[in-house]
């Protein structure tokens, strides 16, 4: 590549990085603005202020934010774990076994994935109220499975398909039962795929807003995005912008950490990437 071309691609890369990080930088900057600074009309705060963080972590808004954070972590982790476990078995069956109904399962996953959430929310809202799941953790974990299961099944079956068929047959010829072949050959090869899928599923659950605002009413189960979205209404006398920005930064930290640590795998997972031995 010539020097000029090289420079063009580097500039392109820098532009992408700028494009991706600019709104994040803005909300971080906003979170450090003191209330008096908030409307200064400039991008950066005139002085760094921890006031907003104090407010949501220890101050008046902590009663709203901290339980929401706990709910978000708990509900998303449990939903991710369940969905990955179920998807792992299903994806193995789809990628490896020959049985009638495979197509049906895949089509179901597809339909569920494109399902408008609001169409599920309405009847669930009603049903959850009747059977006491409204505003509880299970009341969110169950619908979160509808968000995470389809993508988990797809991503994982794509990963599982990358493992050559012969590998498992070789194990069977070597004397393994189907279960042994699964556990000793497929699982170690599939573990990176399962892990990647778990991250993606976690992102999706973490991102949910509609279920969060519809199926909860108190801090007993309300996750962070829902708490954030409804925050403005709760305190009418203080401008909530700063606290929202600070809370937004805090809930963005986990996903940024995951992205930085596992970016290669996440990209592979999102694009059906290969397991390289």
């Amino acid at each position: 590549m010539t020097g000029r071309k090289k420079a063009i691609w580097i500039v392109g890369g820098v532009l992408i990085v700028f494009y991706c990080l600019f709104p994040i930088a803005w909300i971080v900057s906003l979170s450090f603005k003191s209330p008096s600074d908030l409307n200064n009309g400039s991008f950066l705060p005139s002085a760094l202020s921890w006031e907003n963080y104090e407010l949501i972590l220890t101050g008046g808004a902590s009663g709203l934010f901290l339980p929401a954070l706990r709910n978000s972590f708990g509900i998303c982790l449990i939903a991710t774990a369940i969905s990955c476990l179920l998807a792992m078995f299903a994806a193995y069956a789809i990628a490896r076994l020959d049985f009638p109904g495979k197509k049906l399962i895949l089509s179901t996953a597809l339909v569920v994935a494109i399902f408008p959430i609001i169409s599920i929310v309405t009847p669930l809202f009603n049903l959850w109220r009747n059977i006491g799941l409204y505003d509880t953790w299970p009341g969110l974990i169950i619908p979160y499975l509808s968000l995470t299961l389809p993508i988990s099944i797809w991503t994982m079956s794509a990963f599982f398909r990358e493992i050559p068929w012969e590998m498992e047959q070789a194990a069977q010829v070597d004397g393994a039962t189907s279960w042994q072949a699964f556990r000793r050959v497929i699982v170690p090869l599939a573990a990176p795929g399962v892990f990647t899928t778990a991250i993606i599923a976690f992102f999706i659950a973490w991102n949910d807003f509609l279920y969060g605002i519809s199926l909860t009413s108190t801090s007993a189960a309300r996750p962070v995005p829902a708490a954030l979205g409804l925050f403005s209404g709760e305190s009418q006398f203080v401008e909530p912008t700063g606290s929202i920005a600070a809370a937004a930064v805090i809930v963005t930290i986990p996903v940024v950490v995951l992205v930085l640590l596992f970016q290669r795998r996440i990209v592979a997972g999102l694009t059906n990437g290969a397991v390289k031995g």
Binding site: P23, F89, Y92, F125, N126, F209, L210, L228
Partner: protein, 320 residues
């Protein structure tokens, strides 16, 4: 024509299995298959098929949660009410508008990003890749807030930064009317989801063999010709899948609108309309009918893609 030159096989009575009998292995495989895939299948069915059936049923009733005593079967009247209400058509128009704008821009922009990433030097590739994942991973609500605050008449910086543009001034209220509201909503959506599209397109791009490019170069094709005659036709499957998933996703838009405008100035999407009917106004019957209509619309789009554009989801997903 079979000839064996060793003594022929001793004739023994055939002890073959009767026709149609499935061997142990095959039967075991079937059982195992459903044992493993069954739970996931059942859960998916339970959390979607049941609710949509319930919604369909409830959409046939006049039913307010605050007034359960007056629940009454009214057939398709709810649908009649909705389809004759300009509110529904407005929200449908908003949804379609946002979908068209965002998907079109995302596709072009995403392809550009994919091209840059494909060409980016290996030294800066990890940085670009990590950066591109951030918008994808950030919560939609957070992204919506970031863009809302940026354009906000009080806390925003956009008005002061872009005051030199005609029509932008310190007191421009971006969320004050329909056009500018939709503009900001689309901007936020595009920022958040373009990276995902670009990753899908990048994967498609990687499937176009480099030798094809080289062959086309030798054949005398310009950069533009190579793009249109070699690259794009060979990544059609990836493009169509990206298009399908993004279209369906955009059509269900809710979070950004809720945060940024709360439906003001006629920016209500179909999802938002359904939400407001059910959760805010507790009009279960009407809300359910909107939900069912939205569901039908999404299925229609998917069917159009799969049948009309012949999107082969199997091939694109690497299935047989």
């Amino acid at each position: 024509m079979t000839t064996t030159t060793l003594p022929p096989t001793k004739k023994t009575d055939p002890v073959s299995a009767p026709d149609g009998k499935v061997s142990d292995r095959s039967r075991g495989e079937r059982k195992l298959g459903w044992m493993l895939a069954g739970p996931a299948f059942f859960v998916m069915l339970a959390v979607t098929a049941y609710p949509i059936a319930q919604a369909t049923y409830e959409s046939l009733f006049s039913y307010r949660l605050t007034d359960p005593g007056n629940r009454e079967f009214i057939g398709l009247s709810n649908y009649g009410v909705i389809l004759s209400d300009p509110l529904w058509w407005q929200s449908l128009w908003v949804t379609v508008l946002i979908t068209l704008i965002t998907v079109a821009v995302e596709l072009v922009l995403g392809f550009g990003l994919a091209m840059v990433m494909a060409k980016a030097l290996s030294s800066i590739r990890p940085v670009v890749r990590a950066a591109i994942l951030i918008p994808y991973a950030v919560i939609t609500v957070v992204s919506a807030f970031a863009w809302q605050f940026a354009f906000d008449i009080n806390s925003g910086f956009v008005n002061s930064w872009f005051a030199w543009l005609p029509g932008v001034a310190a007191d421009t209220d971006w969320f004050g009317d329909f056009g500018t509201s939709i503009f900001v909503i689309c901007l936020a959506e595009i920022w958040k989801t373009t990276p995902f599209i670009s990753l899908l397109l990048l994967a498609g791009l990687a499937q176009v063999p480099e030798v094809l490019q080289e062959a086309a170069k030798v054949d005398g094709a310009s950069w533009w010709q190579r793009l249109w005659k070699v690259t794009l036709p060979n990544m059609k499957a990836a493009i169509m899948v990206a298009l399908l998933f993004r279209t369906l996703d955009a059509f269900r838009i809710f979070d950004s609108i809720f945060v940024m405008t709360a439906g003001a100035n006629g920016t209500e999407s179909v999802s938002f309309l359904a939400y407001r009917q059910t959760i805010s106004r507790l009009e279960i019957g009407l809300g359910s009918a909107v939900s069912v209509l939205l569901f039908l619309a999404v299925m229609l789009i998917a069917a159009l893609f799969v049948k009309g554009f012949k999107v082969d989801l199997g091939a694109a997903r690497g299935e047989k």
